[in-house]
């Protein structure tokens, strides 16, 4: 047994806000405090290890609800950018494998850097079903963290076909089958209908227009998918990348979507990219719509969002939204990768450099910041950079500092474009996040939204994923969150004094296994065999691809 003594605990799930207590760990889980006689016995048998934390800050391990860390798109981004890695090298050390870093780090370095930052669970945000084996292969080389992936399901042939046939039962069975055979954790919906339109050489705007071969509007697709996810009782609702992402004036689409799905559970990801107004009089056309978006989120009860906070500097944008990447390529002139995946999805990659003096980038940065500050309930808004789209995940400590320290924020703004204040409200916002609120947006909230009952808190029975930070009174906030004193993963120490211990381990893969009617396979077999290019029998991810796996139950009704 392990005892962490004299911890100052920030565990919002269990209403602990700076409470000084000990934490007990056994078999990789948080345990209840043993009775004094048991402690005595343990001590006598030399079975109790004690670490005195001396009043350091303790939180559950960080949980990232949306990050691109493994799979074909991420890997293609790695190949695309040797210049991204060349100056950021990580040498082999003990059992720790080597690799490269920067915006698209190699798999090992991705695991190291999350761990070094005290994050222990990360959700890969978008995987094409057909290439799911690749994701799981990479997961096998992604150390320490627990991870899962969200399977792309907003433009799949069978999804569109069953919705256009009004066959909700088949849709539900297909989605459940898809999650099972791809080893996914949940459903990712990217620009529903719009990716199919891109493949057909068409453009769609808003959520009402019909346009593709399937004659469906995004609205119809969204409703059917949200309903299916609720009916399947998936731990995490549909994880939505809205239509019209990234374009000026798109906040209306986002709000229409939120209203449309008000009665369903919904997570909207990197909402920063969906919250732009349009100002025809302005040269840059871009405007803020954070008031409107925040108001709608504040009004709704089930909706959660993550931000996708922009970080100045190098980034590598990558998404299943092919048309979006095409637009970014036209905008930046940078190199552009596009991959259409048959019957399922698309994808694109474009490197970007967000500049402090660029007014559009400034507005994007401020949009994220303002949403953090204007969304009242921290349980509805989570910390992400949509890594590596709006910036690398390694910027989280810096973002935390911006949220916790209004003076730092104001100083920072003074470095931006001179016209910053004409376009944004940020300078007038005085809210500062508390440590407890930081704990919510970086672990407790995302864990709850993902339906991970054993993550994001330090209650008895939770996974012993624990991060211990130095106190913020004597230290720079960003430094504190960038270099935890200790990190425990499943009860084992993996980081000590800001350094990774060299006991390389691979974490768990988190999956769900919703039930479905086996007949669905026969229902899709004929079209599958004709229009896919591989056999349906070779489609499922077989057990070879799983090392340590945890099945998260599909129960949402208490």
């Amino acid at each position: 047994m392990l005892r962490l003594k004299n911890a100052v605990i920030y565990d919002p799930t269990n209403n602990k806000d700076g409470v000084k207590e000990d934490i007990w760990i056994e078999n990789g889980k948080i345990a209840a405090e043993p009775k004094p006689e048991v402690v005595k016995e343990l001590k006598a048998a030399d079975d109790l290890e004690e670490i005195d934390l001396n009043g350091k800050i303790v939180m559950a391990g960080g949980v990232d609800i949306h990050s691109h860390i493994a799979g074909p798109k991420v890997n293609s981004g790695r190949v695309l950018r040797p210049e991204d890695h060349r100056r950021d090298n990580v040498a082999r050390k003990g059992k720790l494998r080597s690799g490269v870093g920067s915006t698209v780090p190699s798999s090992y370095v991705t695991g190291y850097r999350y761990s070094l930052m005290g994050y222990t669970t990360v959700m890969e945000a978008a995987g094409p079903p057909m290439k799911a084996k690749h994701i799981h292969e990479e997961f096998g080389d992604l150390p320490y963290i627990d991870k899962g992936f969200l399977v792309l399901s907003g433009n799949n042939y069978f999804v569109l076909k069953f919705i256009s046939e009004n066959n909700q039962q088949a849709l539900k069975d297909y989605l459940a089958w898809l999650i099972n055979v791809t080893g996914a954790f949940g459903l990712k919906v990217v620009n529903p209908g719009g990716v199919e339109a891109w493949k057909e050489g068409k453009r769609m705007r808003g959520i009402d227009e019909k346009g593709t071969h399937f004659d469906l509007s995004p609205k119809e697709i969204l409703l059917a998918l949200a309903k299916a996810a609720d009916d399947l009782e998936l731990p995490h609702p549909i994880h939505l990348h809205t239509n019209d992402l990234g374009s000026a004036g798109n906040y209306k689409t986002a709000i229409n979507t939120m209203k449309l799905l008000e009665d369903y559970r919904l997570h909207i990801t990197h909402v920063q990219f969906s919250s732009y107004g349009k100002n025809e009089d302005s040269k840059i056309k871009f405007a803020m719509a954070t008031d409107e978006i925040a108001a709608e989120i504040n009004r709704q009860s089930k909706l959660t969002v993550d931000i996708g906070q922009l970080v100045f500097g190098e980034a590598t944008t990558m998404t299943a939204d092919g048309i979006l990447e095409y637009n970014l390529h036209k905008l930046s002139g940078n190199k552009w990768v596009n991959t259409d995946v048959e019957m399922e999805t698309g994808s694109g990659i474009v490197p970007m450099n967000y500049k402090k003096k660029n007014l559009v980038n400034d507005i994007q940065w401020a949009t994220g910041m303002e949403l953090f500050l204007k969304i009242e309930d921290p349980w509805k808004v989570f910390l992400t950079t949509d890594h590596p789209n709006a910036g690398p995940f390694t910027a989280y400590p810096w973002i935390i500092k911006l949220l916790m320290d209004k003076n730092y924020r104001k100083d920072y703004i003074s470095d931006l474009n001179d016209k910053f204040d004409e376009y944004t409200d940020l300078s007038s916002l005085d809210r500062e996040y508390s440590l407890s609120e930081i704990a919510v947006i970086s672990r407790s909230g995302p864990a709850k939204a993902l339906g991970l009952k054993n993550k994001g808190h330090l209650g008895v029975g939770a996974d012993a994923d624990i991060t211990i930070y130095n106190n913020i009174e004597d230290n720079d906030i960003a430094e504190v969150f960038a270099h935890p004193a200790y990190v425990f993963k499943s009860g084992k120490m993996i980081v000590k004094a800001g350094e990774l211990l060299d006991n390389l381990e691979i974490g768990k893969t988190l999956v769900t296994k919703p039930e479905y009617d086996q007949n669905i396979i026969e229902l899709i077999r004929e079209d599958f065999q004709k229009y896919y290019s591989i056999s349906i029998d070779n489609y499922p991810v077989t057990d070879h691809y799983y090392d340590k796996i945890e099945v998260i139950p599909c129960v949402t009704k208490e």
Binding site: L80, R81, P82, E83, D84, R86
Partner: protein, 284 residues
């Protein structure tokens, strides 16, 4: 003038042998041989300077007989054709090599001077941001180029090559000057962004492919890509100024016939920005 003198030992750890027969040489990485660093060190420190041959780490004295004293000038004797990264990232001082040298010489250097009396390998002066490199013999591929995937190649400084150069000279070059007295290979100035390249011998195929801006000046006929346009035949005064600058500032010999002479001007690459120019000297 004080100098540090290095002489390559005949027997050194980089030699690959089969019995007594020399069958190859392991690459040796000498980015630590930098004039700006060495001048601040003691002789004892210099002797123990870290040098890498393949995966093994050695000391400078394992490879070289070391004479003279720590100085801003380093002179090296020997066939260093398997030595890489000499003077890489250097910002001042002088290195003179009396012999051949391998890849990456002066890559990313920002100042100082490197003189190679023999031939040099690929990536000479790649991504350099200042300083002067001269090679009396031939140079390899990617002179003054950008590394894989990078946007900008050489960005300021001068590279002079007395002999011939390989392919991809000035690839993605951003600023500065490259002068080649002999011939150069294919893809001269490919994806060039700005700067000037002078080739006094013959150019290989596809000069200027994908160039955005910048100037390629040649003195013999050249196969022009179909994506370039013939523009004008004229007497560019700026060339006279540029030649004088090369003569005065770098002591580069330029024959009188090239001054006040007529040049054909092509612009391209028209699939890109189209603001690059190729000037071809018109023999009377």
């Amino acid at each position: 003038m004080t100098k540090l003198k290095l002489k390559l030992k005949k027997e050194n750890p980089a030699l690959i042998k089969k019995g007594k027969e020399l069958i190859g040489k392991i690459p040796v990485e000498v980015e630590n041989i930098r004039a700006d660093l060495i001048k601040k060190m003691t002789l004892a420190e210099i002797k123990e300077l870290e040098i890498r041959a393949g995966k093994e780490i050695y000391q400078l004295q394992d490879f070289f007989e070391i004479k003279g004293e720590p100085a801003e000038v380093i002179e090296i004797d020997g066939d260093l054709s398997n030595f890489k990264y000499l003077g890489a990232a250097m910002n001042s001082g002088t290195i003179i090599v009396n012999g051949d040298i391998g890849m990456h010489v002066g890559s990313e250097m920002s100042g100082g001077k490197i003189e190679i009396k023999g031939d040099a390998g690929d990536w000479l002066g790649a991504e350099m941001t200042g300083g002067i490199i001269t090679v009396n013999g031939d140079a390899g591929n990617y002179v003054g180029a950008a590394f894989r995937g990078d946007k900008l190649g050489m960005n300021r400084g001068l590279i002079y090559i007395g002999g011939n150069a390989g392919n991809f000279v000035a690839n993605k070059m951003r600023r500065g000057e490259i002068v080649i007295k002999g011939d150069c290979g294919d893809m001269l100035g490919a994806q060039m962004i700005a700067g000037s390249v002078y080739v006094f011998g013959k150019c290989g195929k596809r000069a200027g492919a994908g160039m955005k801006r910048g100037t390629i000046i040649t003195f013999s006929d050249l196969e022009i890509l179909p994506t370039f346009s013939y523009n004008i035949s004229y007497f560019p005064n700026f060339l006279n100024i540029a030649f004088k600058h090369l003569q005065h500032d770098y002591q580069i010999e330029i024959s009188d016939q090239f001054f006040n002479s007529e040049y054909m001007r092509y612009t391209g690459d028209n699939t890109e920005l189209g603001k690059g120019e190729i000037l071809i000297w018109k023999k009377d």
